[in-house]
Each structure stands twice: as structure tokens, then as C-alpha cells.
Amino acid sequence: MRFDTVIIGGGLAGLTAGIALQREGKSTAIISTGQNALHFFSGSFESVVEKNERMIDFFAKAGIPLHYAPGVRLMPLGSFRPSALCLEDTDIFPTAKVGSKVLIVNFMGYHDFFSTFLAEGLEKEGMQCRIRLLDLPELEPLQRSPGGMRSVQMARILDPIWEKFVQEVRLLIKDEDIVVIPQVFGLKDPSTPGLIREDLPVRAIFAGTLPPSVPGIRTQQLLGRNYERLGGTYLKGDHALRALTKDNRIIGVSTKNLDRHYLKADTFILASGSYFSKGLRSNPFEITEPVFDLDVNYSPERSDWYNPKFAADQPYMHYGVKTDENLHAIKGGTVIQNLYAIGSVMGVSHPRFGFGAGLAIRSAFHVTDQIVQESKV
């Protein structure tokens, strides 16, 4: 199998790169383990503060409307954080005073949504809060199963009955001008949160839950579908094993499912994420990049890897593969001209590209632009 570009990693960075290249008429493949940071995506595009028209347009074409409104958003434990660019169902407000009276609705037996923390956070900002629990009979099978009441399982049941949910919430509203709802809607049908919002007599805020994140999984599904519709080869549930190298260029990459067969391409993009996604691997003595064995910047002294205070910034999270300024990867001190690194495999933050979703998308654009440019020369 031969492609213009093979991408290792199917998270936000890898999918963005794949879609961008397919839209430019390139043939690409994405090797995806299925486990990536979108599973705990907050819905906010961290570190994007400017009105990035390119991002907004890019996601709109994939059926994911974003909204830009610099302000603050409500966190799942009741605090407010600055945010500018978000998914449609993640709200941003000019200030933390989002209303005067708030009704917080949760489901009976759901412990992954923190209504008391939210109430306290909102009360600190001068709002009055009331918490009410809904007991929908449709959720009973989940309530009876010990690990049943989790975001994704609930979303599967709740999406088709959203109108009934709205009716029940209507009955609970007294004189409130805001209602806060767990973000467990719109897994299969992305329009559900918008429909709920339109149908409620007061403003609805969807507040985050414990992972898995419903908006994150929805985003991954929409991006994946868009990538496949554009003709991309999406190798789900597979992972890259090792690379075939010749004259300091990558020739191919082998994967677990393709046995000894190599995926060949002109260029390769490493978007395999950090430790969590196994893009970086660690043992007591070293931190390595397992597919290409790229150079990783880290301290040889293990005691330097950590700050003993959990709340402090952790040095190990800043370790990642070394690149040149155009994000070509480096191995044994030498730049590999047809291999790029994007996203958090470079470390949690990057001086030019930011961190989180911002890092993933900006670095993906930076690399795909180069690949497209070079192919035109």
C-alpha cells in the first residue's frame, strides 16, 4: 500500500492533518489506536485566543460548528476559566455572572456530574441556585447496573428522548433564568444540544462531566467520518510498530494488524500523542519514542522529571520528541526530512503553537501547509 502521507495517531492532531491533506487532494492513511485525548476533550479549544477563521472554517466543513466569543466558561467543579473558541454546546460568557437565578438539573444516581460544586461556584458569583434531580424511568436499566450511569451510556438512551427530558425540566423551572444540564446529549446526533436549547424557555448551559467526554467523542466521530468521506484510509484499532528507514528517510511503517506489510509514503506525520496515548514511553532510566526511536528531550536524572507537588507544573509533561523549527523530527541528532511531529508528542506545550487543542490543530496546519507547498514545487 502506498500513500502520499501516512499519519501515525488518530487524535485531534492526526485527524486534522489527514482531513487537511485529503482536502488538498492527497492520498493519506491514519493509523489510530482509538485511544486519544479527545476522550477527555473539554469542548474548549485551549490556547486559541484569536479569532482563528481558518479553524472555524475548517471545522464547519466537517459539520462541527464552533463559536468564538472571548470570555469565561463554567468548569465541571464550579469554577470559571477564560475561553474564546468552543464547540457549539460549550458556552462562553462575557463574565462569570451568567444570570440571576440558576436551576441545576441532574439525574438520580448520576455521580459523574457535580451539582453541589457547580452550585457553590455559581453562588460565589452572586447567583441563587436550586438543585433538582430527575428520575427518568428510561435510565432505570443503567441505574440497576453497578457501572451503568456513565456519560456515554446515558447519552445513548437520552438522545432519542430529549423532548421528554425538556418537558420534565420545564416542570422544574420556577423563576430561574438559567438552567444547568449535564453534558450528556448529542453523541450520535450532534443537533440534540441545540434542539434542547431552543425548546427550553430559559437559557441552558451544558456543564461537563467526568470522562469520557460526550462532546469529545462526538467530535472524534464527526472528524473521522469527514476524513473517510474525503477518501482517507482510516486504520482504526491498529497501531504502528516500527519504521523502515533508508538514507535518513522513512520508507514505510509496519502496523500490528498488517503483519509484516509496510505502509509506504513520501512523507510521514507522527501525531501519536504523549504518555497517555503511548506516543511517548518511559522506564526508570529513559523516555523514548517507540515507533521511530526519535530523539526526546528529557533530563537523564529521573528525580528531575517530577515536581513533588501535584498541583505544580510537571517537568515530565514538557518532554517530547525534538524537532527543527519546521517540525521535522530528529533522530540521532540528524533531521529526517520526510518525517514531521505534531501535537503533544512534542510535549504538553510549544512556544509557537500553544497547548492542548490549539497545539494539535496549529501544528497540524503548519505541517500540512508545508507538505502541500513542497508537492507544488
Binding site: P76, L210, W305, Y316
Partner: protein
Amino acid sequence: MIKNTHTMNPNEFDVIIIGGGITGAGTQRDCAMRGLKTLLIERSDIATGATGRNHGLLHSGARYAVNDSESAEECIRENRILRKIAAHCIDETGGLFITLPEDDPEYQNTFVESCLRAGIEAEVIDPELARRWEPTVNQNLTGAVKVPDASIDPFRLCAANMLDAKLRGGQVRLHTTVTGFIKEGDTVRGVHTRNAQTGQVNDFYARIIVNAGGVWAQEIAAMAGAQISLYPAKGSLLIFAHRVNKHVINRCRKPSNADILVPGDTVCIVGTTSSRIPLDACDEVAVTPEEVNLLITEGSKLAPVLSSTRILRAYAGVRPLISTDKDDSGRNITRGFVILDHESRDGIKGLVSICGGKLTTYRLMAEKTTDLLCRKLGNEKKCMTAVSPLPGSEEGSYEKVAQKIWETPSTAQKAAAFRMGTRAFRMRSSDRWNDALVCKCEEVSVGEINGAIERMDASTLTDLRRRTRLGMGPCQGEFCACRAAGLLAASHGCIDREREDLNQFLQERWKGNFPIGWGDTLREAEYTQWVYKFVLGL
């Protein structure tokens, strides 16, 4: 029933016990069973000192048989008693003492003879049989001896003793610090205390006060003007993510570093190291990288698979060893226990200290201490703790308990019966809300968490961890901490306090994780950073 209570004011007791470790809890239970009105004061939570920071090994005494026959005899006697009275805290694993090619082959004979002399059933078995019984044991072993070691849950044991004392009228004040003694001349009459969570200040009075402060006993005694010389010895241990062994595995040689591997519930624990540390360093002991390396290297000699098994957590405890002399020479250090009557030693009346000892012999320590208290108070009741089962252990095995409650118990229900013993009967009436799992790794349900909050004085996440095993499994409290924080917040109603509690829980978890921060542990740690800092916004 309790005597003389009508004549006492609510802040007056027969006995005040300082220290909520197993010694204090055991002493309170014994006192309560003899009809004394007791108050136990603990500055933090139950079992936060050496009680909760060891292997969780119910010694057969075999380890001490060669060098310390008195301790060995005490251990085997208490071992047999605890199997009866604390069945729900004990996993009857049995133990093996293995000889490796580098060990002195003669030691096995001396070892077995010493065991038999102390009354410990030690049986030499064919190395081949040992390999069959214990497939993960070092296959190069040249000898094996079977002994009646077992695994014991110190948190559960401590909580059960305290619960029984409470059922008999005893009072417990956790998160309460003794700030000073109330003295009249040369007699100690009571204590000044301060609640660490609320800041509330209280005075309590007693006819006699027991100092069971473990490694902090020296500081406590000094506040009353009495002197104790402790020699704190730090021991570090590692918890592995899987239970690789069925039996307790020991090295058949003179006690040394990292030569015991104890299975416990879903995990196993290897340890320990031993190094003397200054008394003022006991509050914050950290495991060093060198200790981690030593524990992995030596532990892998017991079970080679450990070199590639994920480590969940590193932790350290401080043994409260004691010198009975006042000369500070340190020559007379014993692994046994001593009861110090400060009246005869220092001329200070109304204060007794109990120091040293081992988890396995806690009941005997409590019995001897309570005997002394009763002599002083003129109480003639006999000790009954050796024959009276602890709450939860009345029915024997947890399988039996689970079957009595639920006809066909689920894994989660069996786990609950294992942790709570007969107290799991309270869960029978559970509705659909109570069965939901808070902690997936250890299968801890909403009902069990609420039970620990309502009936077992749990007021923080780490309290819950000690009482229910919440967050002790492979994910080390990734999400269950947050879920349980929601339940705690609902019970005490103070969100700020709960947010701080969650921060402290995560800090405590990180403290045990970063010394072993690589591989899956580092993956989990990174995930936690993302979830709590960026997703939840703690």
C-alpha cells in the same frame, strides 16, 4: 454496662487513649469490654502511622524464631487468636520461607528447629511442591518451609476495634490534636485538644491517660514532662498492581532488606528497607530512588515476575522501636513492646505509655496495658478480647456472609462482604441507588461509601480510602475520588472543604506515585493532570 457514668460529666472519662493506631484502638476496645468509659483521641485518621504503613502481614512468628524466641512465641499465639476474632480482616494465605542458591543452606535446619521450639508449625516441603503451589516463586529455590503466615488488612482491623469500642459506649474523636496536658501537681488529670478541621478547642478529663502515640509517643510524653527514648526506623515498601503470589513469600535467612512479599486483596506488597531517621523527620517520610531500586532488585529474587510488574505505589512507615534505658545508649532496643508506668518511672501519676510492638501482637499489648489500668483503677474484670469476635467476624468466612445476605452474590457484593464482614448485612435493604459503583477497581458501591461516612467517622477521601479500599486499585483513585468527593460534599455540605480535600487526596496519591513514576504509572499520572487541571478545573 458502663459504670458510674451518671456521676460523670460528659467530658470526664475513666480512660483517655491518645493515638488511633491499632494499639490505641485495641486498648480502647479492651477497656470498653471491661466496662470503662473511654475516649480515644487521634490527631489525624485511624491507622495513619505505622499501623497502616507496613506489609499487612499476620506474622506466624517464624521470622523471629531464630533470634528472638520470645517475640516468636507471642506472634504464634496471637496469630491463632486473631484468625478467630478477626476472621474478616484476614486472608489465610499461608507462608513459605524459601532458600535461594546464594543463601546459607544450613540456615533452614536452624530455622525449622527454632520454629518448632517456639510452637510454630514449620514444615519442610519439596522445592518442586513449592514451585507447583506458587508458580511465580523464584524457580531456582533450593529449599522451602511452610509456615502459618497470613495476610491481614490493618485498616479494617483498626476500624473494627474502634467500632466495637463505640458499640460498647466508647467515644472517638478523630482529626483532634492533644495540645497539652492538664496537671495538678505531679498528677495528669486531662488533656487540652483542638479539632484540626473545625478549630474547636476542648478539655477532656480522665482518671488515667494512655499514650499510644506510636512514633510520636516521645513528643506526647514530653508534654507531660515524662521521658521516653524512641529510635525511629524507616521502612519503605512497594505495592504492585497485581497479586502475583498466593502465599506470603519470605527468604529463609537472617532478616534483611526486601525479603518479604505479602499478597493482599488484589495487590501484593514487597518490603522493607530499614534505616534510622531523626525523630523530627517522622511526619514526612519519602521513599528514595535508591530504595525503590533495592526493593525491585531484591523483590524480584522472591518472584522474578516483579521486575516487569507495574508498581502502583511506593510508601514508607516508621517503626516505633524503643530503648527502655534512660541513658540514650540505644543498646537495649527490642522488637517487643514495653508498657511504661510514668508514676514509677518519672513520678508522674495518671499517665501510662505503650510503645514498640508489632501489628500481630497488638491485642496482647492492649491486654497487658488494660490489665495495668484496671489494677490502678480497681477494676477486676478479666480480659475477653481473645475470645470475643470483632464486629464483622461473627460468621467466619466472607463467602458465607455474602450468601446469607444475597442468594447469588455478585463480585461487588462479595467484595463488600469481604471488606465489611457481617456488617454487610446493613446493605441487604439496598435500593438501586446504593449498588452503583463509585470505585470500579475495588468495586466499592455508593451504599458502602455512605455507610463509612455515616457510621465509621469518615470525613475525608483518605479516611474513605482506609475504610473501604476506595482508590487503592490500579487507577489509584482517578475518578472515584471525584465521585466520592461529591458524596462527602453532600454529607457535610461544605464545598470549599471538599475541594481542599480532593486536592489533598491527589497530593497524597502523587507522593506515592512519583518515586515510581514511569511506564503505566506515569501514563496514569499524566491523565490525572489533564483531567483535574484542564477538564474539571480543580
